[in-house]
Symmetry: C2
Subunit: 320 residues, 2 copies
């Protein structure tokens, strides 16, 4: 009989999993006590939390356990980077049915570990409980290295609007999976399974004087809309600056051939979430850090426009 987390037991599973997590210099006390202790060198800690629920945020037949680990870590570490902070630590709550194969939990842990390593962070603690619904709760911590946090409400009229990271690939990859043609454009499917946030670009933007920044998790228009609303300004995007990458164009073509009625490549870039790109505003004239691309400007008014018009895009709400 192959091992399940039920036969292994709570403490056995914890021992099996935590053995995989190496420490970094920020880890003053790792897993195994009542709580972890993490360095917060500048006297402040950035903290964010997200839940991933099977069937809502991932499917076991579409993503491997390792993919889910990467994604769960990435979406939280990206939130830390979006404040301009360097990710330092991850805590992971894991709720799963007792019949879950142990190897699934081990592979999840490997994904968490690897994504943390990519961001320079470490898994420092967690919890394991039984539940009918496979659920992963991740909290990420980060260090601001002396800079002010880059909030959503600092954009000013005249600022540049810039982005870095993938836009639309994850959503296109999800549609390819839904259409059963994942093999048509593996790069998009990979982006859905394992988003690759540009972690270093967050702190770099903070150091370059970014006035506002956000993790693009719900779609570029929606997330820039949060900056616009919080800052009391409008964001004016230029379509010509949003050039779809070849993989996205090819994915849309494949979806069209399959009769999957896709949106345009631009729509994917504007509305597709879960790539965990970063979007930020900078004072006009700022020499942007590498990998940031100007896509528009901050104007008077409210909301987000593309070439002067409000885009017609479906939103995303976790309960509607």
């Amino acid at each position: 009989m192959s091992s399940t987390i039920g036969t292994l037991g709570e403490f056995g599973l914890i021992a099996r999993i935590t053995a995989r997590f190496p420490a970094t210099d920020d880890v003053l006390l790792g897993p195994g006590d009542d709580a972890a202790v993490v360095a917060a060198p500048d006297g402040r800690v950035v903290a964010t939390t997200d839940l991933l629920v099977e069937g809502r945020h991932f499917r076991r037949d579409w993503s491997s356990a390792r993919d889910v680990g990467h994604k769960a870590a990435a979406q939280n570490l990206a939130d830390v980077a979006a404040m301009g902070a360097r990710p330092t630590a991850l805590l992971v709550g894991f709720a799963a049915p007792a019949d879950l194969p142990t190897v699934w939990a081990e592979e999840l842990s490997e994904g968490l570990r690897a994504e943390c390593a990519a961001a320079g962070a470490a898994v420092v603690g967690g919890d394991v409980v039984s539940s009918d619904t496979l659920t992963i709760a991740v909290t990420a911590l980060g260090d601001l290295r002396g800079v002010p946090p880059v909030r959503r409400d600092g954009a000013a009229v005249g600022d540049l609007v810039a982005v870095t990271g993938d836009l639309g690939l994850s959503a296109a990859g999800l549609d390819l999976l839904r259409a059963g043609i994942a093999e048509e454009q593996p790069a998009c499917v990979a982006a859905h399974r394992r988003p690759a946030p540009p972690y270093a670009a967050g702190p770099a933007a903070a150091e370059s004087g970014a006035t506002a920044m956000i993790d693009v998790s719900d779609g570029l228009v929606q997330d820039l809309g949060h900056i616009a609303a919080a800052s009391g300004v409008a964001v004016a995007l230029r379509q010509a600056a949003l050039r779809p990458p070849a993989a996205l164009v090819e994915a849309v073509e494949a979806l069209a051939r399959a009769g999957a009625a896709p949106r345009s490549p631009l729509d994917y870039m504007l509305a597709g979430g879960e790539d965990h790109a970063l979007a930020a505003t900078f004072p006009a004239g700022t020499a942007l850090p590498p990998e940031w691309t100007v896509v528009g400007t901050v104007a008077e008014g409210r909301g987000v426009t593309v070439d002067g018009a409000a885009p017609e895009l479906p939103g995303w709400d976790h309960f509607r």
Copy 2:
């Protein structure tokens, strides 16, 4: 039609909930951005996370939403106190079915807020998602105020073993609920619904030189067993020092009258979890801080004994 979180929507629910959470001096940036920013005055942050799953950790017919909020916060804040730290902040992930009444989420938030206030902490962030299984993921942060963290592995032969807080009341309260006789001993039922960890006693123990400390969440013998194992010592408890409170004695009598085959009051004190008492070891001769009671000593060997013998008590494993 009364409001549900599905009709209110994700962002509506978040707005409704976060309005309830006041800041403290430690909150440098509260809910509403990609991440919160919390003070970590001594350059380190204590962090711990727990999941509560409906049907496993609480029942909606046995605990009010406010009770669940108190309990979810308390068990994490107690872990912070058990490191010798002052709790500063809470992050809360909330997964719930769309048909959950909005008022339940609001009452949960009120419980979280009130328990944080009791510990001096603030709710600084969270996440709201849809799930078939009502699940609450809590992460607590804390500040060590310059003292070393009190770990599990520092107990030394000859140390005093001391406890503070309730022991056994929560488990007896749960058995009263199971037997349908909650009214027989409301104090125990209240202790189950809303444990009252002695938050201030954790930092006080650290300042008094505690060599090891743990939050009693799984039962005194099991949790002291973790200290014994981590420290490479034995813990010798004295039964005479573990005097059951009147409420516990009365609860056991009521359970006996109901034919609910209870354990003895001492068994509840030794094996009952979820009171979130604190247990710690101190060098012999330490003047214990107020509210701490000596219940034994640290000896050579391994495991936990009561008057020299190994107690026969069932363990608790979340998957077995």
